[in-house]
C-alpha cells in the first residue's frame, strides 16, 4: 500500500482551518495565533505531515540545496571535507547534493543535471569541472565557489589554503635543514593547488640563488606517485628531500623509499607533504606537512556561499585560510625555528621572511 503522504490540505481539513493557515504554522516568521498553530501542529502530528520540500521550492524558487562536486575521495583530505561541509551546510538549513565527476571524463553533463535541480549554490571541490562552466554558472546567476582550487582567467570565488606561502616555507625549511638536492612532486599539473605550491617552492629557491628542484608528476594519485618516486629515487643525482604536492603522495613516496629503495626517513631522505591529513599523524609516517586547516576552510566556504546566495551581486572573493607547517619526523628539522603551538610543533622562519 503506497500510503500517500498527507498534504497541507489534509491537515487543514482535520484542524478545521484553511490550508494557508497550515502553511503559516510551518513558516518560522509568519503571523499566526498561538491556538491556531497548536491545532495545526496536533493535526499534523496525527497525520504524520511534513511540508513537501519540492513543492515549497517550486514556489519559493529557492531549493536550499547546494550541489557539491567531489572527486579524489581516495585522498583522505576530501572525505573529511565532505563530512564537515555536510554538517556546516545542514546547520544553515541547506542540503548537499553530491556528484562525483568521472576523473577523466567531462564533468559538465553531470553538472547540468545538478543545475536542473535549481541548486542555490555550487561548491566545486574537484578539478575536473571546467572553469568555463563554472563561470557560465556565475553568469547564469548561480553562486559558485571553488574549494581548494582557484581558476585562472575566470572570475569565480574560492577558498584555498596558503598554497603559495606553504610552498615557499617548505623550501626555506628544507634548505634550513641543510638540504640542497631538492625535488618537487607535482599533483595534477593543471590544478591551481599544484601550480601554486610549486611556484612557491621553486620561487623561493630561485630567489635565493639555489638551483631549481627536480620535478616529477604524481597526479595526486597513489600509484602514479609511486611510479614518480621510483623515477626520482633511481636517479644518480638522487634528491635528499622531496616536497610532495599532498600527503597522499607523500605517503606513496615514503612507502617506495623505504620498501623498495631501503632508504631511511629522514636520515637518507626528507619528505614534506601538504594537507596534514589524519594519516600524516600516524607514527609510521609522522609526516611533516603544511596544514590546510580543514574546519576553518569549511567554515569559510559555508559562510561565503551563504553570503553569495543572499547577495548574488557581491563581488567575487578569494579567501585564503591561514595554515602552519606542522613539524614531525619525516624531514630533518632545522636547528632553529620550531615553535610549539597547542599540541603541535610548527616551524616559522627564524628571520621573518614568510
Amino acid at each position: 500500500m503506497p500510503h500517500r503522504h498527507a498534504t497541507a490540505s489534509d491537515v487543514a481539513r482535520l484542524a478545521g482551518v484553511s490550508q494557508s493557515a497550515v502553511s503559516r504554522a510551518f513558516t518560522p516568521g509568519a503571523s499566526i495565533a498561538r491556538e491556531t498553530r497548536a491545532r495545526v501542529e496536533d493535526a499534523a502530528r496525527e497525520l504524520g505531515y511534513r511540508p513537501n520540500a519540492i513543492a515549497r521550492s517550486l514556489t519559493t524558487r529557492r531549493s536550499r540545496i547546494i550541489g557539491v562536486a567531489a572527486a579524489y575521495l581516495q585522498n583522505h583530505f576530501y572525505p573529511e571535507v565532505m563530512e564537515a561541509l555536510s554538517r556546516g551546510l545542514h546547520a544553515r538549513g541547506y542540503h548537499l547534493l553530491l556528484f562525483t565527476p568521472d576523473a577523466g571524463r567531462d564533468a559538465d553533463p553531470q553538472l547540468q543535471e545538478v543545475l536542473s535541480w535549481r541548486v542555490d549554490g555550487l561548491i566545486l571541490a574537484s578539478t575536473t569541472v571546467s572553469s568555463a562552466l563554472a563561470s557560465e554558472c556565475r553568469a547564469a546567476g548561480i553562486p559558485v565557489l571553488l574549494f581548494n582550487r582557484t581558476s585562472l582567467g575566470t572570475d569565480v570565488s574560492s577558498v584555498t589554503g596558503e598554497n603559495l606561502r606553504g610552498g615557499r616555507l617548505i623550501a626555506e625549511f628544507l634548505v634550513a635543514g641543510g638540504h640542497r638536492r631538492l625535488a618537487f612532486l607535482a599533483g595534477i599539473e593543471a590544478s591551481s593547488t599544484s601550480r601554486d605550491r610549486e611556484r612557491g617552492f621553486a620561487g623561493w629557491l630561485v630567489e635565493h640563488d639555489l638551483p631549481p628542484p627536480l620535478r616529477e608528476v604524481g597526479l595526486y594519485d597513489f600509484d602514479a606517485a609511486c611510479a614518480a618516486a621510483r623515477r626520482l629515487l633511481a636517479r644518480p643525482d638522487r634528491p635528499d628531500a622531496i616536497f610532495c604536492g599532498n600527503d597522499h603522495m607523500a605517503i606513496a613516496v615514503a612507502e617506495v623509499a623505504r620498501h623498495e629503495f631501503g632508504l631511511r626517513i629522514p636520515r637518507d631522505l626528507s619528505l614534506v607533504g601538504f594537507d596534514d591529513t589524519a594519516p600524516a599523524r600516524w607514527p609510521s609516517f609522522s609526516l611533516t606537512s603544511f596544514a590546510q586547516p580543514l574546519q576553518p576552510m569549511v567554515d569559510a566556504a559555508v559562510a561565503l556561499i551563504c553570503e553569495m546566495i543572499e547577495n548574488p551581486a557581491a563581488p567575487t572573493r578569494h579567501e585564503v585560510v591561514h595554515g602552519e607547517l606542522v613539524v614531525r619526523g619525516s624531514a630533518r628539522i632545522p636547528p632553529e625555528g620550531c615553535v610549539s603551538l597547542g599540541d603541535r610543533l610548527v616551524w616559522r622562519p627564524p628571520r621573518d621572511e614568510a
Copy 2:
C-alpha cells in the same frame, strides 16, 4: 541581474508550439514528430533551457533522489563507497542527497528533513539512524536499504559483506597459523557488523574447543582503537594475534604495537583486519584482511534499491556479498591454504569448512 531561467513556455513560444510539445520533446518515450522535436531542441538551445527537476518531481511524484546517510568518513571504506555509490546511482539517473548524522546525536531529525524531499529511496550506511525509524520509513512506503549493516528485529533490506563467515575464517586462519592467544577488537558494539564478525570469530573457536578470545572495544575509531590496543598489549597474558573489527582499527593497533610496544609484526603479533581498504595494501601495513568487495557491494545496493523503488511491495531482501580473506604480511601464514586469485593471495581452509 538574476537572469531568470527559461521555462518550457518560453521555449514553446519561441518554437511556435505548445508547451506540452516542449515537455514531450524532453520526455524519452513520448510521441512527437521528428520535426517538432528538432524545432523545440533548437529553441531550447537558444534559450539555454533545461527542464526544472523540481517542477517535474512535483507532478511525477518521483524525485529521482536517493538519500544517503554516511558517517565514519574517516574510515577509508566509506569514502570509497560514497564515490562508487554516487557513480552507480548517476548511471541509473538518480541523484544523491548526502547527510551525515552526528556521531553521538540522534540522526532522526536530519532524516526527517531528507524525507521532506520525498526521496525515492534511502540508503543508510551509518549505524546511527535508529532501526525504528528505518522501519518507519518502510511502513511509509519509502524503500530503505541498509548498507554494511543489518537491523535486528525490524524487517529492512540490507547489503552486507560476509561478516559471519569472515569472522569464522579468520579464527581458523589464525589457529592454523599456530596462534592460541587470540583477541578480538570490537567496533561499535551495537553494530551488526561488529556483532557478526565477533560471533563468527568466537563461535568458530568455541566449536573447536578453544578458549574464547580476549576482547576490547575500539568503536571503529582510531584513537579509541589505540587505547584498546594499549590495554590489550599491556596484559601479562598478551595475545599473539588480534582480529580487528576493521582495517582502520587494525592500523591503529599496528601503530601502537610497533611504536609503543616495540613489537614486530607478524613475528610477535599477528594482525588481521576487515574491509581490505586501500591503506591495507600499503607496504608499511601489508594487512591481511577479509575483503568486503566494494564494487560488488555497491552494485548490489544500487540494483536492490532500484528494484525496491520499482516494486515497493517486494519482500525485504538481505544480500550478502561474497568476500575473500586476502593474505598479506601482517599475520603469520599457515602452511596450507593459500591460493593465488588474480593478483591477490587469498586463504581458504585446506579441508572445506567455510
